[in-house]
């Protein structure tokens, strides 16, 4: 599926492997939490990158002990209305200091990518290439933010209470 990283459509080097499918001989795979829990020994012995996919009701506690093993954590939005992965993402980034790829999968629409990026997602899987390309513009639709989150953006309150204030001086607003 088309993948956006760093505001570009990129080639996905990872492969989603369903639970009933055999693991490919090589290459990075993204597997379910259930499979990880069932086949941990085999998976650790496999000499290739490993990614994990969490359903929206599978919280961060299920993987924190194994976090260093994963090159991708994919959080699933069964529908865009299910907002649980936003919390999971922030906890992974801000509480557990996860630094590898955090991918949004499932019902991903352009109108949510800003929120996702703020919560720490840095990769976005879209259903088709046109949707992915159009979504790139949506990342920068609104510049100002009122909260601190998992991205590095400074909140309005931080900018206001900083004497070297670029936004209010008009250099980036």
């Amino acid at each position: 599926m088309p993948l956006i990283k760093s505001k570009q459509v990129v080639i996905d080097t990872w492969q989603h492997v369903d639970d009933e499918m055999a693991l490919p001989a090589d290459g990075g795979v993204i597997i379910s939490l259930a499979r990880w829990q069932a086949e941990q020994t085999v998976l650790v012995g496999r000499n290739a990158p490993l990614g994990i996919r969490l359903k929206s009701d599978e919280g961060v506690d299920t993987i924190i002990n194994d976090l260093p093993r994963f090159g991708v954590v994919a959080l699933e939005f069964p529908t865009f209305k299910d907002g649980r992965p936003y919390s999971t993402a922030r906890l992974l980034r801000q509480r557990h200091h996860y630094t590898e790829e955090l991918r949004a999968v499932g019902d991903i629409l352009r109108d949510q990518v800003q929120f996702m990026r703020r919560c720490g997602f840095d990769a976005f899987e879209f259903a088709d290439k046109t949707a992915a390309e159009k979504a790139i513009a949506a990342f920068d639709e609104i510049e100002a933010v009122y909260q601190t989150a998992a991205d590095r953006r400074r909140s309005a309150a931080m900018i206001r209470n900083d004497t070297t204030n670029a936004f209010l001086n008009g250099t980036c607003g």
């Binding site: 299910d82 907002g83 936003y86 009122y146 309005a156 309150a157 931080m158 209470n161």
Partner: protein
């Protein structure tokens, strides 16, 4: 009042641009109605029974004359010449056209207004005591907290897709005019013995199909921790709130299911992890916001104005209005003037463009250009010199805005009901009109005294019937409109939920039933005893007897 800086303005402006593009995509057929729905909802745009409806945010019910004039202009130019003030202190336009929506939002942005988060499963427009900054009994001004919460909750990246909508109310007075105990979060500002400010935090109140009174999760949360603490509450809710059944998705259900103790344990565990992080406001920001709410330049005046006293003696009608619609102000020589939007036979909360302009002009001249919207669907002039009240009253009267019925039986809260809403089982507005006509005699209303009637056209309880002294809930009985009657509800500091007193009555019999209830009350009350106090003393039996005896 809070004024936008370049950051606030850029956010609202860019949001208008974003929505403009979304509407363009919808009109061009790039988006289906289903795909468009969540986008329009995030901008306060609903699809009602007959047309789109736009809900404009009036943060914590505070606005200026300038903003009110803009609303009047929009009502005239884009709607049918009127607007409807709601129980969330917002304003609804009932007939806007989709293609004009971006223009309307752009006009709102010109006066620092928007429609953000007036719908959808997000943190909704925060509400507050309408007497903020004016009430004689105030501990601290709730608008400062409300503005802090407004900014924090605006486009919150983590909490824009909650299990269900989320409503926060703030009051800074022991007399709760903001219904804090029936909100998802209610914040009551308190001062400790050393004079430091903090919050009593109440979670899990709400009306709807499962009415509940909130539980106190923190007795005194120091002011500086506010945002990290409510962020912890929201995170627990976002992760654990039910998403399988929209009727069980509000935070009250989670608090109830976990039990208060376990809920508090989870919130505290989460809070421990973030309480000293950058989530809370940086030093200086609270003060920056607070400075906008400094008191206006009051004149030093005597506590009681002689002219005001004289006019009350000389003009009985004025005296009547002053008795019901004027409330004490903290500043000597000033009072708070309430503008009733409940004229006899009128639609509760509706105001014409002409009335909006009149209120704007009066506020400009007599109330430092400040106007408030109340959750009881009235307006307030917060800072009026007592000496000016007679002029204010006369001007209001010439615009049909001086009905002296605040808190009386005809000061009814009603949801839009079947006249507008696609969810309703029954009409609310015509019923409110009929009740106010039946009790048109002001002398009778004053004799009955304080009595809050609240009408909801369906179980979603937008008319807050559970907390009405008399509550009416519209139900569908084989295609006929029937109304369940509850008695004894209240949304103040002694919040209680009304009790159903018997079988529902048909539309044609409701007004008679209300009269039977008031007559029963008048017969039972002791000297000076209010309806609610009488009900609490005698219970529902006497009312049940008289109401159902004849049937």
């Amino acid at each position: 009042m809070y004024l936008y800086d370049a950051i606030d303005q850029s956010l609202v402006d860019q949001r208008v641009e974003q929505f403009h593009d979304q509407v363009r995509r919808r009109m061009a057929g790039e988006l289906t109605e289903e795909q468009f729905k969540p986008l329009r909802l995030m901008n306060g745009l609903y699809l009602q029974l007959h047309a789109y409806m736009l809900r404009v945010a009036i943060p914590y019910g505070t606005m200026s004359s300038h903003q009110m004039r803009k609303l009047a202009h929009i009502a005239r130019r884009y709607d049918k010449g009127y607007g409807h003030f709601t129980t969330r202190q917002n304003l609804q336009f009932n007939w806007p056209k989709l293609e004009e929506m971006p223009d309307i939002l752009a006009e709102l942005a010109e006066v620092q207004m928007h429609a953000l988060q007036t719908s959808g499963n997000c943190i909704r427009n925060v509400t507050a005591d309408q007497y903020a900054g004016a009430a004689a009994d105030e501990v601290a001004d709730p608008r400062i907290t409300a503005e802090v919460v407004r900014q924090w909750s605006t486009l919150h990246p983590e909490f824009s897709f909650l299990p269900r909508k989320f409503k926060i109310a703030v009051t800074g007075s022991p007399r709760d005019r903001a219904a804090a105990r029936v909100h998802d979060i209610g914040l009551i500002i308190k001062s400790d013995e050393a004079g430091a400010m903090g919050y009593q935090v109440i979670v899990g109140g709400g009306l709807g199909r499962t009415p509940m009174i909130g539980v106190t999760v923190h007795d005194f949360l120091p002011k500086r921790h506010l945002l990290s603490y409510i962020e912890a509450i929201l995170r627990v809710y976002n992760q654990a709130g039910r998403r399988d059944n929209m009727y069980k998705a509000r935070i009250k259900i989670l608090v109830h299911a976990l039990g208060a103790e376990e809920f508090i344990r989870r919130v505290n565990a989460e809070w421990e992890a973030i309480r000293d992080s950058a989530v809370d406001l940086p030093a200086g920001e609270h003060d920056r916001i607070a400075a906008f709410f400094a008191p206006p330049r009051f004149e030093p005046l005597a506590k009681h104005d002689a002219l005001f006293a004289r006019y009350r003696l000389e003009d009985r009608e004025f005296a009547q209005w002053a008795r019901t619609n004027v409330a004490p102000h903290k500043q000597p020589g000033y009072d708070i003037a309430n503008i009733s939007l409940k004229p006899e036979g009128g639609i509760p909360g509706d105001a014409t463009a002409e009335q909006m302009n009149a209120v704007a002009a009066i506020a400009e001249r007599f109330s430092f250009s400040e106007i408030r919207v109340t959750h009881e669907q009235n307006l307030v002039l917060p800072h009026v010199r007592q000496a000016d009240l007679y002029d204010v009253w006369q001007t209001l009267r010439s615009h049909d805005l001086a009905t002296p019925n605040l808190g009386l039986i005809s000061d009814i809260i009603a949801c839009p009901g079947m006249d507008y809403c696609s969810l309703a089982n029954a009409r609310s507005i015509p019923l409110a009109q009929d009740i106010s006509k039946r009790f048109a005699d002001l002398k009778q209303q004053h004799d009955i005294g304080e009595l809050k009637v609240k009408i909801s056209g369906c179980i979603n309880a937008c008319g807050h019937h559970h907390v009405g002294h008399i509550g009416l809930l519209g139900v569908d009985r084989k295609g006929e409109e029937y109304y369940q009657i509850t008695l004894g509800g209240s949304a103040d500091e002694n919040t209680s939920l009304g009790e159903i007193i018997g079988p529902a009555v048909s539309y044609d019999n409701v007004v008679d039933a209300i009269e039977t209830i008031t007559t029963t009350y008048v017969g039972l009350r002791t000297d000076g005893e209010s309806f609610l106090d009488t009900y609490r003393r005698v219970g529902k039996e006497p009312f049940k007897e008289t109401l159902y005896a004849a049937h």
